[in-house]
Symmetry: C2
Subunit: 252 residues, 2 copies
């Protein structure tokens, strides 16, 4: 097989497709994202993507070794898009909160890509850029290196894990998703108080609350804990903790 995929830099013979399209890694990724967005998560298959591009499915294997590779490229593009819409203000807590929410929203906009990429390390440019940026925010805020790394890890894992969780339900076929909602209403909301007193007592709240994502609350929790650590560190290191921390613990 020698090597089927040629590194993008070396590409030059840009022969058009039978239908007149000139393929490129970029065009493929963009089309894949559009496909996911328009026709749902299950719409992304090599064959469908080929059809959408106006090319034979097997052409894609000249650009990506396998579907997984393509997914990583898509994931990195998503990271890039999120990063580009983010405007840091200098307030580390507000900035990280904003970034976390944007990452989560980005994941929800492309559920299938998010699910796949949550546990993968792409090692591509945008991912590296994101790591560098977040570490920069934390170290800039005054966290010592060990602490910065630990908080970075917690922050990114939380964003990815919740993003994947919420994406996964969003990526389910519509009828399955409706069936889930029906389970809450039909099963949980109707359990008798004598066998399931706690569920019965909280049924209304339960049904309402479970329909929402728990990410924003979890994010604020994490940032709150980090802020606490920072204050502690500042006090200990001589600086007499002056900043009164005006964070408005608002949970959407």
């Amino acid at each position: 097989m020698s090597e089927r995929v040629v590194p993008p830099a070396a590409r030059q013979r840009r022969r058009p497709t039978k239908q007149g399209v000139v393929l490129s890694e970029e065009l493929i990724v963009d089309t894949a994202l559009r496909l996911i967005e328009e026709h749902g998560a299950d719409a992304l298959s090599v064959r469908r993507l080929g059809r959408a591009l106006g090319a034979d499915p097997s052409s894609l294997y000249r650009y990506f070794r396998h579907t997984d590779d393509l997914m990583l490229a898509i994931a990195d593009e998503l990271i890039g898009r999120t990063l580009r819409t983010w405007r840091p203000t200098g307030d580390w807590r507000a900035d990280l909160r904003d970034l976390g929410l944007r990452m989560h929203a980005g994941a929800l906009a492309h559920p299938r890509a998010a699910v796949l990429s949550s546990y993968r390390v792409t090692g591509r440019t945008y991912e590296i850029q994101a790591v560098e940026t977040i570490l920069g925010v934390l170290r800039g805020a005054g966290f010592p290196d060990a602490e910065a790394v630990r908080i970075y890890h917690a922050f990114i894992d939380q964003a990815l894990a919740h993003g994947a969780l919420d994406s996964a339900s969003a990526a389910m076929p519509k009828d399955a998703r409706e069936a889930e909602a029906a389970v809450w209403r039909a099963t949980y909301a109707r359990l008798p108080a004598d066998t399931h007193p706690h569920i019965a007592a909280t049924a209304r709240r339960l049904v309402a609350d479970m329909a929402r994502s728990s990410y924003p609350a979890a994010l604020d929790l994490l940032l709150g804990a980090a802020a606490g650590r920072l204050a502690e560190i500042r006090t200990r290191s001589g600086q007499p903790t002056a900043t009164p921390d005006p964070s408005p613990e608002a949970v959407t």
Copy 2:
């Protein structure tokens, strides 16, 4: 089609398979779990499962409407197994910590099943039992209903999300997992300080820290925040926050 699946209670004609196996919902679920565990996540397909059971694939559709149904049954069995090994002591914080860690461990023990079941609501017996139990612990500890529901939601989502995240990497084929680790060492640990100062400064810590799960830390964070809320609630409601919480809200 009338109805292909017969409710388990009504089953009586237990005709054996050509290969002599007598099918049952239970046997199918157990075999599926074994299959997932032994041969990886992709090993679970209707056809493979049929082969492992010694039955025609289509027979399974007499027991489950579609694969999704089967996955829910598997997920519920997993919940049940976790719940059965858990012994509550009456100390809500310790109990929830223990349960969270057990759920996480259970997920890691069956990585492929955990990934698939993390985002689904089964509505089956064990899941209902788990919800009732956790709500009971929280309400027994003195959390008002609204708070109990909110904390329950955060707790369960966190356990599921981290369980799925950590399971997903554990479920990757071995060579892919090694490739990921290599990315950290080969890419991140070698970025020059002039273009990526923050990564370069923390590279060693970063590589070491990213190899571990962030769940235990995240769990303690959550429980700490909940404990803080509880103290606040008690003070406000007149009780001068002294009681060391002896409530034995043990739910079987």
